[in-house]
């Protein structure tokens, strides 16, 4: 399955390389970027064509497109790719506007193409093992879920200003993880937050440290802790508690060596960020996407899965604004 990558910033360039060399069942048809030099650099390194326009990429002989450009461009590209009959991989979030998302999903539905939204964490072996334990009943009836999700360092203020805010930019991954792990929709949101990392984030109208409670349709309560800055590395943990036990995906470490002295034990750091932690999940995501497209099966992360976390995120913003729980 040939994939054209649209947008080769940090995340798009990573996808291009994984498609070209690491994932089975996919190959790289070429790359496009609004910044010509970016596209050229990646194209030369990976020895693939560089498309002059997004339309040229979509109109190429690629079987699928990977939409990795800036968020506001996503839906137009989704629509164009759907109309061209291409399978679509789109990075999260689909959009910051719910009606835009709906326009995109309508085009996808009308054309019957596959749309997969890039919630890569579902494909992480550790988090997937948590979901599997829940789904298989290994911990009995699920009661409570905890997600710890903290980035090592905040993005630039310019990025934050256009990000839609922490709930739509960062917590959105955790909203997806909550839906994925519980297998149940969210019906109520209570969120609280403040600025502890950088006053400039607050001046930009955003929060950097938040705690969110989600009540699911099945009664399970999920608690999410987020922070834009984590000195000890990229904190990525999910813990599901049920009537028969508890299952937790713990943080990784950069190596497995432990030193013990009279001061106690000392171990390795937690990997710095998503490139250090999640590459295998991105590879696995590509392989599952390719497999779904080939087989005609529904994608493992659907358009509806892309829409739901946006709804939750908008409710979280409202909850903070009113300091009350918001019913969905």
């Amino acid at each position: 399955m040939k994939v054209a990558v649209l947008g080769v910033g940090r995340i798009g360039a990573m996808h291009a390389e994984l498609i070209a060399h690491r994932a089975d069942g996919v190959s790289l048809a070429g790359v496009y970027d609004v910044v010509e030099g970016a596209a050229t650099a990646v194209g030369e390194r990976l020895e693939v064509p560089v498309f002059d326009t997004a339309d040229a990429a979509i109109g190429s002989d690629a079987d699928a497109v990977a939409i990795c450009s800036s968020t506001p461009t996503h839906i137009d590209l989704v629509v164009a790719a759907a109309e061209a009959g291409k399978a679509i991989f789109c990075e999260k979030p689909l959009s910051l506007e719910l009606d835009e998302v709906d326009r995109g999903l309508a085009a996808v539905e009308a054309t019957g193409v596959t749309l997969h939204v890039g919630f890569n964490r579902r494909f992480d072996a550790s988090h997937a093992a948590v979901r599997a334990a829940v789904a298989d009943g290994d911990i009995g009836q699920l009661r409570q879920l905890r997600i710890s999700s903290r980035d090592p360092a905040p993005p630039p203020i310019a990025y934050i200003e256009q990000s839609g805010g922490i709930f739509l930019d960062m917590t959105i991954h955790d909203f997806d993880m909550a839906r994925f792990t519980t297998g149940s929709e969210v019906v109520e949101v209570y969120a609280t937050g403040r600025v502890t990392v950088d006053p400039a984030i607050g001046e930009a109208g955003d929060l950097d440290t938040v705690t969110v409670l989600l009540t699911h349709e099945n009664g399970v309560v999920t608690t999410i802790d987020n922070c834009r800055q984590s000195a000890f590395g990229y904190d990525q943990r999910v813990e599901a508690f049920g009537s028969a036990g508890i299952v937790s995906s713990e943080n990784h470490t950069s190596h497995s060596t432990i030193k013990r002295t009279e001061s106690g034990s000392a171990g390795a750091v937690v990997p710095y960020f998503f490139l250090e932690r999640y590459i295998p999940s991105y590879i696995s995501q590509w392989e599952q996407f390719a497999s779904a497209v080939r087989s005609g099966n529904p994608p493992s992360v659907s358009g509806a899965d892309g829409r739901a976390p946006l709804v939750i995120g908008l409710a979280a913003k409202q909850s903070v604004a009113t300091n009350t729980p918001v019913r969905l």
Copy 2:
């Protein structure tokens, strides 16, 4: 320092034995229980006098009394002991009624005796290490705190009916832990809960599975997960996240042996309940109590420390009733 124990049910009998044989600097003056046979059994086993009445115990040559009787009897005994000039150790909660608590604290203040409220978890080496790391600035500025606290099995319904509800009976320990670890008072409470363990608990007007958010004066948000039933053992964890790192007290295991086969690794169970987990903390608590009384220093858990969690617990009940955050 000689201690008379008032009330030798499960927890009182444990205290009597720790005072008699395990803790340094204290000895057992005798025991009293409203159930005569209970007192006799413990008295014979530990070879100490059995008092016929609480007054006799308080009026004995004991330097201190340990109030381990049922909650409604606490304040009268506190007052009587205070008036007799005895140092007082009182099990939690002081009372389920705030005005009763205040009556007790007034007597303590008027007489100048030492009152120590039995929040033993502060003396657990693991939780104490979390507090120490926070206080010492090892994790920088504290931002978020997480407490997981789950009992292995619910108490009898008859107990639950008189317990004051999960927030005053069980979460009260976690409210104390939140105040202790953050070093900051609670200013707002949001609580949510339901019944997942036993419908009879709901019929008794109580919850068995709750999640509580506390906002502290210093801005830190604490999240508490409670459940009355935990198949994997007594879940007792505290995790503090700050600007420079994270510090977590993890559950203990009943032994340190790991087996690895083609199925993966298998390790020991988490200790069943407080007798298996917290004996060393109870011993340490007695030693610190004795040391405070001897030196005339303030107790490490004061009467105010006994009152504050009750206020939080009452707010939590109100928050559940109204599904809104409650300001203190």
Copy 3:
């Protein structure tokens, strides 16, 4: 079952206290020590009689004696106690002389009393879980065993000079553990060692850092690492490798708190020495001893179990002297 303790140095005083207060099914009949003040101190603290002579202790109404005096006195006391018909607990080693051991065992056999040799590590929950996994076939056919056993600090040189050397004083515990875990006798010994901790140990004719290979009757090879000084605490680990897996008893830690910062993780120290690590095993040992005596079952650590490690230790000394494997 009433137990008189003979010898209340550090280890005997510990046994006296465990018998008096911690172990079920035993009580303390009294204590004796060649140093009168030592006996008096322990007797007063535990409120039990102090015997004037060992004979008085043996001749008392105690059901059993605990021989915790210096090694050269063990066998005479074993013989006297056997002849008095008392059940016997004897600290390791029984003796440094094989013919002395045999004299003691003959007296025990002739009188039919119970003799239990104090290899407490068998009763440690973690090591016992390793043995259980081996015995239950959880790791299939056992192939290799590893024992890491290192003391925090060397004893005084005066002690070392009378200890019989590291193999009879320290490794003897590991020889027992090898026999216990494998369930198979040792048929060949190869030992190598040197002095790395303190030259005075070498001047006293001893080694302080040794590695020993044991070949068992069933073909399993055990490797033992010993050192008289371990900066990180009391190293006590056993690891059994078999055809279906591996099972390891890991070191304990003094608490369960982990701190993570940009430098990595930091955890608690390993407990300092046997009092910090092995108290529960000593308690369990007393309970199993009492149970064996009461039921008339053979003791869980027999006289033959006391003799075998001495034979292995003598062979280890010879192996070092000749730098060749020694066949038993």
Copy 4:
């Protein structure tokens, strides 16, 4: 730096792919294999030329050759590559014959080319952290070293028959690790072993379960446990004990999720074999090789480092044959 790969069996094909796509600073000049189809398959997949002969590969414009063919062909290729002035990466072992090794090293010395022997484990982040802790004095003066090294499953008997035996084929990696971690040459070897996995291995004149003691020039004793079959996965651990502490590289796990129920905890499996565990070490090795060649610095694993483990392995065979320690 362009590298031609000679021999693209399992390990050579892996190197070709790492050179082509994963390691920085190297590119794949082409491949050769005595089995034409093997070379063609790899060449097509990686889109590089296929050389008809080893000479053609060596004579190409490649800057370096990677010798990954069968062991008996190594030295001829080393000599040819050296005479062609190419930098050489050679898989272990250089040869099973010491005089052949010396012939190869002589050619390398005469021509001044770089020769790097493929002991990849030195480049594993966990093992490297052990070495770093030793070299930096973090554990004080090194006293004892333990290496646990067990393969998941034995190779085919046909392979074993030509392997030179377990010491030269498998333990050779551990001999290198012992020299690397201690930084000290081996002066004496004692080895013992037997057949526990497959009688056919014994019939082929080999052992499958061995324990080896190495005495180093600096007095440190290394113990190595090997087995050709490990049900729990690829066992790869190194533990260094010194006067100030201990440092251990523990096994990895395939994910970081832990499940706790009333039966205890359950975690993930240990990765199956070297492809699952050591890919990052192979990548790092290529990058360090490239860096050494470019800078003219000596390689991090020299020809002498390739020779020494062979000498130790031959001594180990002799030690087993005579059941005595062998002095080097």
